[in-house]
Amino acid sequence: MPHPSDDRPDPRPVPPASGAPEPGGTHRANLPLPPPEPVDPDLGPGPAQGAPPESRLPVLLAISLGGGAGAAVRYGATVLWPTPTGAFPWTVLVVNAAGCAGMGVLMALLTEVWRGAPRLLRPFLGTGVLGGFTTFSTYALDVQTLLDGGRPGRALADLALTLLAALAAVTAASGLTRWAVRPRLSRTGRSTV
């Protein structure tokens, strides 16, 4: 059973990093090893060589639909909680941190339990919804606007707090999700890393 998440034609096998076992199974006896999980969640583990090119359009459509939905929710948040000029951009910070938490949960589920998930689920939810929901450009402009407006303290706080919140969110969400599904895995006789 291949484990494609998209139609990437040229999967780059990732050389194993020194000492760090790939999550998702180096000791899974009697089961075919899944392809190693790459760093980039949008590209995913490559499918078996040469997926048919016609599978590319559904992937792009799923990404596009998800992205439209994600962008709409982000815009809705900024309409509900607008940031006055010069104020600290909490809304975008919370949006980004929440999206990073979502990505941590999604990727942990996809790599630990939903190995047979529909092929379009990751492109739709990960690349699409969460990718369209979170934003780097608005963040960069927010920091720059605060600097320009003579608020270097707030600019630095936004720069650092967003980063810390995002990394903490994705790390905690990923770890908690893996921990939460572990009992299920052991009941089905599969081991986790």
């Binding site: 990437r8 040229d10 780059r12 990732v14 050389p15 990093a17 000492g19 760090a20 790939e22 999550p23 999980e37 790459p38 760093v39 980039d40 969640p41 949008d42 590209l43 992937v59 792009l60 990404i63 596009s64 639909l65 992205g67 439209g68 939905a69 994600g70 962008a71 709409a72 982000r74 815009y75 900024t78 980004n96 999206g99 990073c100 979502g102 990505m103 941590g104 990727m107 492109p123 990960g126 690349t127 699409g128 969460l130 990718g131 369209g132 979170t134 934003t135 780097f136 450009s137 608005t138 963040y139 960069a140 402009l141 720059q144 720069l159 980063l163 990394l167 994705v170 790390t171 990923s174």
Partner: protein, 125 residues
């Protein structure tokens, strides 16, 4: 109307990120997420230009909603950036994880400044 502009922009920006990411990643064999870096830096540059154009009166609010909030907002991403950083750290590639953060932040911020400056140079203000 505002919602339509943002959704339409989001539907364009997101596949654009995927295609850009793939095109960049195809050209090197390392695990370093150059694709997302290129996306976030280029998106910040364009949003800088758009914001500058709005400030100088060369762009409308509607254009900003469509191309800024919609396209650039969805084209750039924090979730993929943070997950890739986490993956690098989990694989023991601390230096690469740190470099990804440092490069992304400084380059995107620099691109935003550059974009604003370009817009002011072109449209005055």
């Amino acid at each position: 109307m505002n919602w339509l502009l943002v959704v339409a922009g989001g539907m364009i920006g997101t596949p654009l990120r995927y295609l850009t990411d793939r095109a960049v990643q195809r050209h090197h064999a390392s695990a370093f997420p150059w694709g997302t870096l290129v996306v976030n830096v280029s998106g910040s540059l364009v949003l800088g230009v758009l914001t500058g154009a709005l400030l100088t009166g060369a762009a409308s609010e509607n254009l900003l909603l469509f191309a800024g909030t919609g396209i650039c907002g969805a084209y750039t991403t924090y979730s993929t950036f943070s997950y890739e950083t986490l993956r690098l750290a989990e694989r023991g590639e601390r230096t690469a994880a740190f470099a990804n953060v440092a490069l992304s932040l400084t380059a995107a911020l620099g691109a935003a400044v550059l974009g604003l400056g370009l817009a002011r140079a072109v449209w005055g203000g």
